[in-house]
């Protein structure tokens, strides 16, 4: 009897998780399509470019894959920290600093090809770690809310980066605010001709696997997840809660840093970021869509990349602005993050199910 009850509520729950995400995406796309239909003079043309544009040419699809890389790193970084129930927003700053660190190594040191890129990425990771670990330390030591401290730190990272760019990396011959040009030895090679898709995509996929294994197959990942789910239980079990929180932010910072480094080395020939790139923020959306599970991060990252590129193409080929993607994103976030979405329906099912059990007298 126990089995029967558990079975049904388990089925109800897992069914609703999938249903919630699917419904949220469905509703948001529907709203977007309606908006486009009303806003455009040629809605069919606009829709065609929005939905099919990214796969119509190899170049466009290349754009999707290019965007997929940083989005995946952003999502992974956030997922590791969210799994520990730490809402560290410094992933954004870490992503930026990762790019900066890679830029410094790229123009500052001469090394053989390959090793140079690896060193630049490693330093990027280190830069990312340094930033992300600050909110964690402040949280563990002084119980400072990590959301606030990490949000503030992003600006510290940005202006530190601007300073370094202006006074240490700046190339007066570049004609714009940028570093000296990266040597070949440090750039990530393009792997699909006539697109910008670079070798960083392999690194992204490797990191998805590594992060998954780390979270679900190692003792450290276990400690992170248990601490995130119930800190009291973790403490009672003898898990060092403070060090686990710090570990998760170190891992998250490293992933964001690697992402930033990969992006800079793969997509640009100079370091020229003077604003925050935004992939850390996107990581939040992606991680929420993927239920903080690295397994689903590539899927969510691809979905978002596709939408972005589609909207971009649409704005160039029709009279609809690309901001329509922001509307889609906003609706998805509201519907998925809103814990009560579809909850009444779910609750009705559970109540009905439980009442049947009460009637049978099996629920004691």
């Amino acid at each position: 009897m126990q089995n029967k009850r558990s079975y049904s509520s388990k089925t109800i729950e897992s069914r609703f998780e999938v249903l919630r995400v699917a419904t949220a995406i469905g509703i948001s796309l529907l709203v977007a399509l309606l908006l486009i239909t009303f806003a455009s003079k040629q809605p069919l043309n606009a829709l065609k470019w929005f939905l099919a544009g990214p796969i119509l040419t190899m170049r466009n699809f290349g754009n999707v894959l290019e965007l997929f890389i940083p989005l995946t790193f952003g999502g992974l970084s956030i997922a590791v920290m969210f799994q520990c129930n730490q809402f560290n927003m410094a992933a954004e700053g870490s992503f930026f600093l990762g790019g900066l660190g890679a830029g410094i190594i790229a123009v500052g040191i001469k090394m053989p090809a390959g090793i140079h890129a690896a060193a630049a990425i490693a330093v990027g990771a280190l830069f990312g770690v340094v930033l992300c670990v600050i909110p964690a330390l402040m949280k563990v030591k002084w119980k400072a809310n990590e959301v606030v401290s990490s949000l503030m730190l992003n600006y510290v990272a940005l202006f530190f980066g601007n300073y370094v760019l202006q006074y240490m990396l700046f190339d007066p011959d570049a004609g714009y605010n940028a570093s000296h040009i990266f040597p070949r030895s440090v750039r990530l090679p393009v792997i699909i001709p006539r697109t910008g898709v670079h070798a960083g995509i392999f690194l992204a996929i490797i990191m998805v696997v590594v992060t998954y294994l780390f979270l679900y197959r190692t003792k450290w990942g276990y400690a992170i997840r248990i601490t995130g789910q119930n800190q009291n239980f973790a403490k009672y079990s003898g898990i060092g809660v403070g060090s686990t929180i710090i570990l998760s932010q170190v891992a998250g910072g490293a992933l964001a840093g690697i992402g930033g480094a990969t992006q800079v080395l793969g997509m640009y020939t100079r370091f020229s970021w003077t604003t925050l790139p935004g992939y850390g923020w996107d990581g939040i959306l992606i991680s929420i869509l993927a239920n903080n599970n690295p397994k689903f991060i590539p899927l969510a990252a691809f979905f978002l990349a596709y939408l972005r590129v589609g909207a971009d193409i649409m704005s160039r080929r029709s009279d609809v602005a690309p901001e329509v993607v922001s509307i889609i994103q906003a609706i998805i976030v509201v519907l998925i993050a809103g814990k009560m979405f579809l909850d009444t329906y779910k609750h009705k099912m559970i109540v009905k199910n439980s009442q049947e059990q009460v009637k049978e007298g099996s629920l004691t």
């Binding site: 126990q2 509520s9 294994l213 197959r217 009291n232 239980f233 003898g238 898990i239 109540v351 009442q355």
Partner: protein, 520 residues
């Protein structure tokens, strides 16, 4: 029962929480005008849920509420207040930095044009305090008040808002005996003035003292409604626990060996600055079940938390295997081969969303034998999980199932499986059978005896008098943070006698209590 007298009727109330837990099952509850009505039941029996529904904090899934014969819908606390229902929560809802008068009028502030009229707030507070003979200073800051006075403010606050029915959620849990006495005088005064009071408690003596009628909840159902005079404390507790099935525990006499846990002069203060443990000293030997009896809130929880490393202590010494644990991490304490079945299993015992398997390895996942090359030995862990599930008779869909989907009894079996299978030499079990069904209770008790027979020391803390007397080989009684009795042998103990010690009526002479120290 004359329905006309009922000022409040709750009919057929069912409440299912989003996780599928059924807190109330077709509960009927009725209160007559001008009575003090006791609502009793064990933790998790559904008392709080029922009152939350009445006060509009939770909405019921079935059933209806009648006030003076009229069906009403109470969707939120403000509509409850409108209907004349007031609630005094166990944890006070007051703003400490404001004065009593300001707290009193919060939300219904008297205005002088558009400014807050403090003088009138003072007057309103004075008037209502006088009307009900409460002695309180309206200008005092709430943060400076004692717990008892804060409670008075809460009660007056409800009365000021026109409460005719007053719900008191375990009002005496935080009070000293003197404060309790004072509260009772005031409650009787309220009753005289025609107010109806719902009194939630599990202190039976207090119920006998001031309540007129009683409703008993067990496991989400109402199991009886009666006049308090007609029921003895024994009757009430029988109904509450449903102890018609007397569990006779089969065990041989204990053979105590060397001392493993040794506590000397331990004192502790809780977050309210109240002294919860006062100069406690005792020894626990291997091969015995050492019971700690007492009414809840007499220092047992704090003692358990200190022994297991969850709570720091500054005065006294706690040694496990001759090692002072004051500065040891919880992991280090566990590595001394100790384990702990916590009182609040949902908060400390499990991570609800994690699987049964993940919950079973939380104390050992990091050990060498479970890891190879940085990865966890998944197969070994699964194999051990499966054998724990079958050995400890956990009813589930398999090791991958999230543990929150199990019933309370099965969750406890998982906790017990983890804590018992690690081969502890000292184990602390705190309320091991609270709120779980009879079958699981019997199973857990048998496991405890088995562990003792294997030579481990068991410290058993239980508010269930029957359990602690039957299961323990020797026991101490805690009253207000002090040991008031020590029984080296539990054979010829009577519940009567125990009750007297637990209520602080009797107290053994110090030398007799001192026998609990075996290692000099």
């Amino acid at each position: 029962m004359a329905d006309a007298d009922n000022v409040l009727v709750m009919e057929n109330i069912t409440k299912v929480y989003p996780n599928g837990f059924v807190a109330n099952k077709n509960v009927d509850f009725s209160v007559r005008k001008g009575e003090i009505h006791a609502l009793v039941g064990e933790n998790g029996a559904g008392k709080s849920t029922l009152m939350k529904i009445l006060f509009g904090i939770e909405s019921p899934d079935t059933g209806r509420i009648l006030l003076n014969g009229q069906e009403v819908r109470i969707n939120n606390p403000s509509s409850a207040i409108k209907y004349g229902i007031g609630m005094v929560h166990q944890h006070f809802m007051l703003a400490p930095s404001l004065t009593v008068a300001e707290n009193m009028v919060m939300g219904i502030e008297p205005k002088n044009w558009f400014l807050f009229d403090f003088a009138r707030a003072l007057q309103m507070t004075k008037d209502i305090a006088e009307k009900y003979h409460f002695d309180i200073d309206p200008k005092a800051y709430v943060k400076d008040l004692s717990v008892g006075q804060k409670q008075k403010v809460e009660i007056l606050k409800a009365l000021l808002r026109g409460a005719q029915i007053l719900i008191l959620d375990e009002p005496t849990a935080v009070l000293t005996p003197q404060e309790t006495g004072e509260l009772f005088v005031q409650l009787k005064e309220l009753k005289k003035q025609g107010h109806t009071i719902i009194f939630i408690s599990h202190k039976l003596r207090e119920i006998k003292e001031i309540c007129d009628r009683i409703t008993i909840l067990r496991d989400g159902r109402s199991v009886g409604e009666a006049n308090v005079e007609e029921m003895s404390e024994q009757d009430i507790s029988d109904r509450m626990v449903g102890r018609n099935v007397v569990l006779n525990i089969q065990k041989t006499p204990a053979e105590p060996k060397e001392t493993i846990l040794s506590i000397r002069g331990l004192s502790a203060v809780n977050q309210f600055g109240k002294n919860v443990l006062n100069d406690v000293s005792f020894d626990v030997r291997k091969g015995e079940i050492f019971g700690i009896a007492g009414i809840e809130g007499n220092g047992q929880s704090e003692l358990a938390e200190i022994i297991t490393g969850l709570r720091p202590y500054s005065k006294g010494s706690v040694k496990i295997k001759n090692v002072e644990i004051q500065n040891l991490s919880i992991r280090k304490i566990r590595e001394l081969k100790t384990s702990h079945v916590p009182e609040d299993r949902m908060t400390f015992g499990i991570a609800g969303d994690a699987s049964i398997e993940e919950n079973l390895i939380s104390d050992r996942y990091y050990k060498k034998e479970y890891n190879r090359n940085g990865l966890q030995k998944a197969k070994k862990i699964s194999r051990e999980t499966d054998s724990d599930i079958s050995e400890y008779l956990v009813k589930c869909d398999g090791r991958e199932q999230p543990i929150r989907m199990l019933s309370g009894g099965n969750i406890q079996k998982v906790v017990v499986a983890r804590e018992f299978s690690s081969g502890p030499e000292l184990i602390l079990v705190d309320q091991p059978t609270r709120g779980i069904d009879v079958g699981a209770t019997e199973f857990v008790r048998k496991q405890i005896v088995k562990l003792r027979d294997g030579g481990s020391a068991v410290v058993l803390i239980s508010a269930d008098l029957n359990e602690v007397m039957e299961l323990s080989d020797s026991l101490i009684v805690l009253y207000e943070g002090e040991i008031v009795a020590y029984f080296p042998d539990t054979k010829n103990l009577s519940e009567q006698e125990m009750g007297e010690y637990m209520l602080g009526v009797k107290r053994m002479p110090p030398d007799q209590i001192g026998d609990v120290i075996h290692a000099k």
